[in-house]
């Protein structure tokens, strides 16, 4: 019986492989389960062209199935292969808010997040995901270099 759950904020980039292996190692040692979350950045207040509005529903379906096939499912498979229970989900929204919300809802013991952001310039201006989590995460957060 697994006693604890760790949430992994997984972007799916090459740099994130060290995040995944570190989280896996910690989970194995603690006997915890992992919950991988991949967030597709989205704001309901962004501006779209009429054509984008028309295609949005279809694109969302494509984006989710692509993220599931290319990012989430391979990660879950890798972790389960190593013998650790793993679940996952794909969400739309602001990464920091969503991760913090899921950590709370899942009663997670810890959050794991990679240090590297996708865009260092914007992260310097607007703050990166690890820094954001450091401010609002409801549970201890590990930043993996």
């Amino acid at each position: 019986m697994t006693s604890e759950k760790f949430v992994v904020a997984y972007e799916g980039s090459v740099e994130d492989s060290s995040l995944l292996s570190y989280a896996l190692e910690r989970a194995r040692k603690e006997g915890a389960a992992l919950h991988i979350v991949h967030v597709l950045e989205w704001s309901p207040y962004s501006f779209l062209t009429p054509e984008e509005l028309e295609e949005r529903h279809g694109r969302r379906k494509d984006e989710i199935s692509r993220a599931r096939e290319v990012i989430l499912e391979p990660a879950i498979a890798e972790i389960e292969k190593a013998g650790v229970t793993c679940t996952g989900e794909i969400r739309y929204g602001q990464v920091v808010e969503i991760i913090a919300e899921i950590a709370g809802a899942q009663k997670a013991a810890m959050i794991f997040v990679g240090r590297s952001g996708r865009n260092s310039v914007s992260s310097r201006v607007f703050g990166s995901v690890p820094l954001g989590l450091a401010q609002i995460a409801p549970v201890p957060t590990v930043i993996v270099p």
Binding site: P44, T49, P50, L53, H57, D62
Partner: protein
């Protein structure tokens, strides 16, 4: 095929490049041909009611707005707060994140309507109808909110959802599906007529008027030059976006336009605050002019007609275009989009148009006879005498320049961007009507897009008068067909609204925030 509009625009440019004099001559020729061929139709649409000087079309829209307002129990006032909550996302299911939000549907629809109508259109209305036109514009805007509510609810209810996830909606769909549901015949004929007018409206108000006013503003700042040059440049850029599929340009515009809109409002507020002591006087002029005309030819009715015409042209309530833009929203309740859409005429007409009108009145660019206190009517120009004899967008520009000398340059950029975003929106509305008539397919769609780009050049080259009249005539023709459909389908909207309000009251419709 992708190169076609660009090639066509360059061809037009080459034909016109014989010299500035020849080009100016061609401008006049285009204008003359335009006036000759469309004049009779414009006259028909704007014909006065027998024995009055009140055009039947203005009455048509106002009566419709009043009927919808009464039929839905003053929904625009009672539902205003709920509309804002919907836009904020208070009732949006978090599981629908990533879908089109109410805010996005509203913002996109607004970027198609907020634009030259608010800047140039208001100046035309106030220039011809006097400050009193503003009063009638606000009234038309407030009542038009109920019309918008009706058409956008139907737009979502009867939209088509295709297996690949695309969504298509608009009056042509509620005409066919809605009529069938009510057991009414003739839905497809209505849809076909509506689509023909939409295509012409897209080429007129959604295209030529925009190109025309963008050129007027640019030549005001840069000095006189032939209109086809502005037209060719705009046609090329629009062609790159709509035919070439370079969405990034459109996306940048979509992002810049709202900020331009906010900037415009902020500058207007600053000007009004600077002239704070005259705001009361300006409102006095607006109220007095609304009922007396204050020297305007046509008096009270002149002010009223101009106000109504410009409001309808600016916020497009009853025209049906908004139903196309709003129909892609993700909601289980069509009526929620109706609520959201009713904010559109409010923002567009009641807020932004009024700002422009107040600035024009306050800055004194309309000449007043100091002895009588009446506006000086220039019969030859058919409008109130203005500083420098300007009209349309140039009048707005002159008014704002009284406070900020750099404003004309800024306005030129804003006007071009507004014109461009409106063209992108209307090219889409026109295309939806076109594909409804002729079917989908790259070749068929590109034919429309090329025609659309060519009309940009024509619009920029023609004079204001014939273009503005043709634009209005086409948009109002859409309204004739659309409003009949709305009357026939309004019981369906009432049923939707009743059920929604009841479920909202019982808590069946959940608030997520």
């Amino acid at each position: 095929m992708k190169q076609l509009p660009i090639a066509a625009a360059f061809l037009a440019a080459a034909l016109l490049s014989a010299g500035p004099a020849a080009a100016q001559g061609l401008d006049q020729t285009i204008n003359q041909i335009f006036a000759d061929y469309t004049g009779w139709y414009v006259a028909l649409i704007f014909a006065d009611l027998p024995g009055t000087n009140f055009s039947w079309i203005a009455l048509w829209l106002v009566v419709a707005a009043l009927i919808f307002t009464g039929y839905f129990g003053f929904i625009q006032f009672k539902g205003f707060v709920h509309s804002i909550k919907l836009v904020k996302g208070d009732y949006s299911d978090p599981d629908d994140a990533g879908e089109v939000s109410h805010f996005q549907a509203l913002a996109t629809a607004l970027s198609g309507t907020v634009g030259l109508g608010n800047i140039a259109g208001v100046a035309v209305a106030v220039g011809i109808g006097g400050p009193g036109a503003t009063f009638w514009m606000i009234i038309a805007g407030l009542f038009g909110m109920a019309t918008k509510f009706t058409e956008c609810t139907l737009g979502v209810k009867y939209r088509n959802e295709y297996p690949d996830g695309r969504v298509s909606g608009g009056p042509m769909y509620y005409m066919t599906k809605g009529f069938a549901e009510r057991g009414l015949k003739g839905g497809s004929i209505f849809a076909v007529i509506f689509c023909i007018f939409t295509i012409l409206g897209a080429l007129g108000g959604g295209n030529m008027f925009q190109a025309n006013q963008a050129h007027a503003q640019l030549s005001g700042v840069l000095g006189e030059y032939p209109g086809w040059i502005t037209g060719a440049v705009l046609a090329v850029v629009t062609g790159i976006v709509i035919v070439g599929g370079i969405k990034s340009i459109a996306r940048v515009t979509e992002k810049v336009v709202p900020f331009m809109g906010i900037f415009y409002i902020v500058v207007s507020i600053i000007i009004l605050l600077r002239n704070f002591d005259e705001i009361g006087w300006a409102f006095g002029q607006i109220f007095e002019g609304a009922f007396t005309g204050l020297g305007v030819a046509g008096g009270f009715t002149g002010a009223l007609i101009q106000g109504f015409r410009r409001a309808a042209f600016s916020n497009e309530a009853g025209i049906g275009s908004a139903a196309i833009a709003h129909s892609a929203v993700r909601t289980k309740e069509p009526v929620t989009e109706g609520y959201v859409a009713l904010l559109e005429p409010f923002i567009d007409t009641v807020v932004i148009c009024t700002m422009t009108a107040l600035v024009i009145v306050i800055t004194g660019v309309l000449n007043i006879d100091p002895e009588t206190g009446m506006y000086i009517w220039n019969a030859e120009a058919g409008q109130i005498e203005t500083e420098g004899g300007v009209s349309g967008v140039e009048l707005t520009s002159a008014a704002y320049a009284q406070s900020f000398s750099w404003f004309p340059a800024m306005l030129a950029i804003a006007v071009v961007l507004f014109a461009f975003s409106t063209m992108i929106s209307w090219s889409y509305y026109g295309l939806k009507a076109w594909t409804y008539l002729f079917g989908e397919g790259a070749m068929k769609e590109n034919i429309f897009k090329v025609i659309f780009c060519l009309f940009i050049v024509i619009g920029a080259a023609a004079n204001l008068g014939p273009v503005i009249d043709f634009s209005d005539a086409m948009l109002f023709s859409m309204a004739v067909i659309n409003v009949i459909a709305l009357y026939l389908l309004m019981p369906i909207v009432k049923k939707e609204l009743g059920s929604y309000v009841e479920r909202l009251r019982t808590g069946e419709i959940k608030k997520f925030k």
